[in-house]
Amino acid sequence: MNIVVCIKQVPDTTNIKINPETNTLIRTGVESIINPFDMYALEEGIRLKEKHGGTVTALSMGPPQVEESLREAISLGIDDACLLSDRAFAGADTLATAYTLAAGIRKLGGADIILMGRQAIDGDTGQVGPGVAENLGITHVTDIRKIEQIDEDGTIIVERLLEDGYVRLKIKLPVLLTVVKEINEPRLPSLRGKLAAKKKEIVTWVEEDLEIDSERIGLVGSPTFVKKIFTPPKPSGGKIFQGDTREAVASLLEELKKAGITAGKKGSEDGNN
């Protein structure tokens, strides 16, 4: 089994701040981490390897400091890591990124299973996974919450999370899967893993190493145009219903009905969080 996990290095958004004047991320002093969703992809990759054998390789595109994240992946139990790093790749949108990553995977010799997180916490688009699959001409399924089994005949059975349930799918390999956090609990690194990661040679490929069209990479190959990034204004107005709870709820419901927000008598059920 040949497994590739694509990971992205992102700023740790748990303590991120936006400059209110320029509406841009304040990046100084913000720690870089592996995109949290990708941690689940790495864990699943390691588990698949532990169960079915083969190798699991981590792949990333980004500046040289991404090597750190790839070393972290190695410390968790990933066998090899590869970085696509070139000035020509910089400024890539999801289209150019997917194209470049796909070229990297081809150069790695392809894969039976490609795993990615469902989205990156900085861009939040969720487009790169499907984009990579399209570039490679293989099947993709997003939002995987469980890999049930892989059969000798080259098929895989997975569960895809839906808003109100899940769907069980049987797919022919090769396949690209993006995973949700329900899929597993990522392990912590081990000391032996960390020591191995320190010594590991991480392959870096530049533009010339890949078979790609230079018009389709980096800023040049990115049609996306970001018009404006802003913090949505805090909602204002609103109305507070005070006094006796019963009466307050009753008058709230009355208002909602008037506004046409509540329908019948059946209360709306809270879905899964």
Binding site: R187, L188, P189, S190, L191, R192, G193, K194, L195
Partner: protein, 386 residues
Amino acid sequence: MNYFLTEEQEMIKDLAAKIAREKVEPIAAEYDENEIFPNDIVEILAKSDLFRVFIPEEYEGMGGGVLEMCLVVEELSKACGGIALSYAGSALGTIPIMLFGSEEHKKKYLPKLAAGEILAAFALTEPDAGSDAAAIKTRATLENDHYVLNGTKQWITNGGEASIYTVIVLTDPNRGVRGTSAILVEKGTQGFDFGKKENKMGIRASATTELIFQDAKVPKENLLGREGAGFLIAMKTFDQSRPGVASQAVGIAQGALDKAVAYAHERHQFGKPISSFQGIQFMLADMATQVEAARALTYQAARIIDSGAKNIAKISCMAKVFASDVAMKVTTDAVQVFGGYGYMKEYPVEKMMRDAKITQIYEGTNQIQREVIALQLIREELRKKG
């Protein structure tokens, strides 16, 4: 702060800190309240290789020493002194095997201990033999190729949870401390049972139980060192393990200090954060200074021991006494900084104050430690005089 750690030691510290922050802290209050032994955390520590750090490489360890063990205990103790003790208590039980075990003992137990597959424990104390450890009554009599053990050990950390116990017994009741021996007893040995689990003031996630021996038959190869060396083995073991207690104390104190500083910044009275009052500032300043001094002495003791120095009892006791007294003082002051909220279980510092107390008591009370230090001073003085 730079503690002049090697790159590998930094790695150990970071990993232990990550586990403490992400895995231990969220469950610490619940495990304390319900006296839950942290099997899940032990498994995480095992998978992270942290049980390996103080065990030699030829037995699947990573070749570090007391300092490496201390770094792990300190980081874990910042989040929970009780959960940290499952680790430190196992180290205490592992040390006599490393120091006095035969090649067979080491091959049999150390790789499993290094992998964290099993835990160890150390059993000296009995109902009538605490500080006066020479008063132990648990007997081991040699019958053919077996020792037969009878007696009861009390307040044994990791009791019931550990798989291997170093038990200090009397092999020759006529010879006092020279009649004591150390014997390895495996859990599951016929005639070896666990008595009641104690309901404690603090470190409640740690298991403290009785060990009951009723004609427990143990192969005579399980003797550590030689007959008569029991007391010596116990003392040499404590010399190496006491910096572990000191680290537990430093960790608890640092944890309490961190909480106190954060709280003093947030809590407002008289229209200002309480951290703006000099009365609070001076308390925080003293707490921080004491914690730093305790850490320095603890690392110093660990480094001296790891250097292979011979006379380590004094520095080892000094680290334990000083750090544990600091932990008690600092956690009490942390409760003071929190005021009434500090006295409530909803806030973490009351637990830290309860947890700190044990560090002044076990592995030799602080009175006994001071006695050892003083005795050493007098000996050194006499030696000078020739």
